[in-house]
Each structure stands twice: as structure tokens, then as C-alpha cells.
Symmetry: C2
Subunit: 255 residues, 2 copies
Amino acid sequence: MQKRVRLIVAYDGTNYHGWQLQNNGITIESELNRCLTELLQEPIEVTGASRTDAGVHALGNVAVFDTQSRIPAEKISYALNMRLPEDIRIQKSEEIAPDWHPRYCDSRKTYEYRIYRGEFSLPTKRLYSLFTYHKPDVARMQEAAKYFVGEHDFKSFCQVGAQVKSTVRRVTEVKIYEEDADLVIRVTGEGFLYNMVRIMVGTLLEVGLGKREPWQIQEILAAKNREAAGPTAPAHGLTLIKYEFLQEKTGCLEK
Amino acid sequence: MQKRVRLIVAYDGTNYHGWQLQNNGITIESELNRCLTELLQEPIEVTGASRTDAGVHALGNVAVFDTQSRIPAEKISYALNMRLPEDIRIQKSEEIAPDWHPRYCDSRKTYEYRIYRGEFSLPTKRLYSLFTYHKPDVARMQEAAKYFVGEHDFKSFCQVGAQVKSTVRRVTEVKIYEEDADLVIRVTGEGFLYNMVRIMVGTLLEVGLGKREPWQIQEILAAKNREAAGPTAPAHGLTLIKYEFLQEKTGCLEK
């Protein structure tokens, strides 16, 4: 009896060439396929929810696969973690409807970008946050962030060359707060374009440093041109925190 | 004109054989000596405050050295950080009295031990905290921790074979608190024996898991025998947070 299994996948992206299979280089997807194929003794290819870039981390990315295995779905996490390298850890495994697909289900995901503001970088934070000795103005960034919330054409915040039918996306929340010397930017949305959060962060930092005014976010959105926005913030400060699926267990059809 | 320079040193201990010079393996001390010697064009040997073990991290270890260099002491941090590997970062450099010695000055230091309690380990926390799927009882640990505060003979909490004149030490505070899924143990004291904090943590965890009673810490201290205490907790959960020196700038004589 075939069943579909859903995995919640956490990883430290430092040593991977991102999520997606590549000809050169080890990826999260290639490690999952390799270890699942060994464990279940049948060829397994996972389908991921978010194809995170090289260097981006995750606490809760999502993948599904189909298997004939008689191992109970909820036990696969334990067995798979014994085989995976220590920088990838399944947080949960469970059976899901046979037509449930992580990219065709309505979902909301939350990313966190972390910035460490110090005079010098801190070695124990270097892999998971962007270091800056600048002191961006948090209130200006918070003001600018409001313009991102809602449904907008985010074409200016999408890497040139990304192939998508539409560049309209809905951002439901942008929270910016301080945690000791860290500045944390949490973005929740129903979908993101390629590099969208990192370009939002790069632009928000320019606002924080006085290079742009908060209200100019509106202008940048209206320009629908990548060159209107700020730089793409480095990958290692970004972590995919969680997915929330609106059809949690039932199937969802390809749209 | 010779001057003495004090460094505040932060590092990720993951890739080092501890602080102290060794015949085999790179250490924090060997990297500081190598980079300072290159930078200042004279042979430099630093003296460290705390010789942390392999795998232990630091936000604020302390080192001093003497130099003939005309580079202002407070600029050395910038120049040295350009040469050091990215997992070692000087947080501050400053001139200090010529007879100031980090191990002969009265000081208070604070260590933090971090435990991540989850069903599975979290890759982005794996280098800086101990993972456990157990759920130790925090209140029991807090009760046990009180017995450590004050001046005691900590012989039971010292690795066998450590060469010290006295095993009496003063612990001024032990704070145990929860931070989301992390359990944090902060120990402040005027001096620590070899592996003392790690053995305290290993013993506190046994109390938290019901293997020992809180009041038995008294018995363990009274035994003055390493075998009476619990296991040595792994190095990677431990970070040396800070030093406070009572004679901050003036000299302090060898005792």
C-alpha cells in the first residue's frame, strides 16, 4: 500500500548548495533522497515546499514523498535522523492525504532575518546572522516595513531572471524588533518570489541607515524594477521558521 | 617603549583544540600568537585568563601581551581581526598597567551552559548547546543549585589529576532559567577548577531527571571525591561569557 509522508525538515544551510538538486554539490534535497532511499530500500524523490538558497537555514521546511514501506510514517523521523548528517534533522514525519502537495496548498510561511549589531562580529553568531557595525534606525525600518504589508506586485523585490507567472504576492506581517544586540526582521506571507525576503531586508537596511526614506518603499514597489530596490542581503542571516497550511491534512489540488 | 595590551577575545571553540598551546593541533592561543607576531613584527606570546577546553566557546576570554609596537593599543583589535580566522574575534584591545596579570587579579567570571530540549536536535543550535530529548525538572535543578553558592571545597567537581594547590572555590551565583526550548545554567564565581562547571551541569541534570535529590549536592561536596558527582557535560554547550576584574586597570601582583 502506497502512502504519502510529510516531513518537517530543519537544517543548517552553511555547508549546502541550497535545497534543490544540483549537478555539482550536495543539497538538502540530495541528502534526503539518498538517506530515504537507503532507509526504505526503494528509490525516493522528495518534493520540497521551499527551495531555499545556498546558505539559508530552516527550522521548518516541508517535504513529501510516496513510499511502499510498512514503517509507520511517524517512525520515519527517528530512523531517518540516524542516517542524516547532523546539520539536517527531521522534526516530524506523518502520513498525509495522497494528493496533498506542499506547493499547491494554500500556506503561510514565516522567515526570520537576523542582524547582529556590534563593534566586531561575534564568532558564535557568525553563521546565523549578518554582522554590521552600523546602527540602523529601527523606528525608520518599522515605518518602512508597513508598506510591504498587503497584496502588492513585488517585481522590484524579485531577482531578475526568475521564471514566474505573476509577481503579485501577499505579505501578511512584517515585525522588526530588537533582541539584545540582534535586530530581528520577521516576514510572514502567503508566497515569496526568488530572493524576495533578502531584497526586502537589504532595502530596509538602507532605510535604517538613512540612504532612503520609509515612504519610498511605495515608489520602489510601483517601479516594478529590480534596480529600484536595495541590495540582496547575504543568505546566512536568513532562516525559514515555519509553514502553516490552510488545508492541513486534506488533499489540495494543483492550481 | 614597551607596553602591555589586554585583549577581550571571543571565539567559537568548535574547530580548536582548546585555548592552550599544544604540540598537535591549532588552539586559540596559537592563532593569537601567530597573528600578533605577523602583525607586530616581533615574537609575541599571549597569556590567557582562562584556558578553556577543546570545544568550549567564549564571548569574553582575556589575554595580555607585551609589545614594543607603536600601534595604539586600542587599534590593535581592528588590525588583528583582519588576520584572525573568522571564528576568533577580538572584541576590545587596550593598554593596561605593566604588572597587570589576568590570572593573578581578583576576578569574577561567568559561564553559561545551554541545553536544548526538543524531540529532535535542531541543526542551527547543535554547535552551541547540548541536545536532550529528556525534560529535566527545572525547579529541582534550581533547588540543587543553591547548595553550590558560597565557598566550598569543590574537589568532587574537579577532574581527577588536575594540579591545583587548593580545591576550595567561591561560587557567587547559579541562575537556572528557561528561554523557549532552551534551559540555561549561568554560573558566576571567583575561580573554577578544571571541568568544574561541566561536572556541576552533569550533576544538576541528574537531579533534574530524578536520579539524585537536590539536597544530595551537600553530600557530594562533602565526599571530596570526583566519583561522587555526576558525569562531565559535553564541552560544546559551554560558553565563557565574561570576566569582571576587581582591580580593573591598576597592577596586580602575583599571589
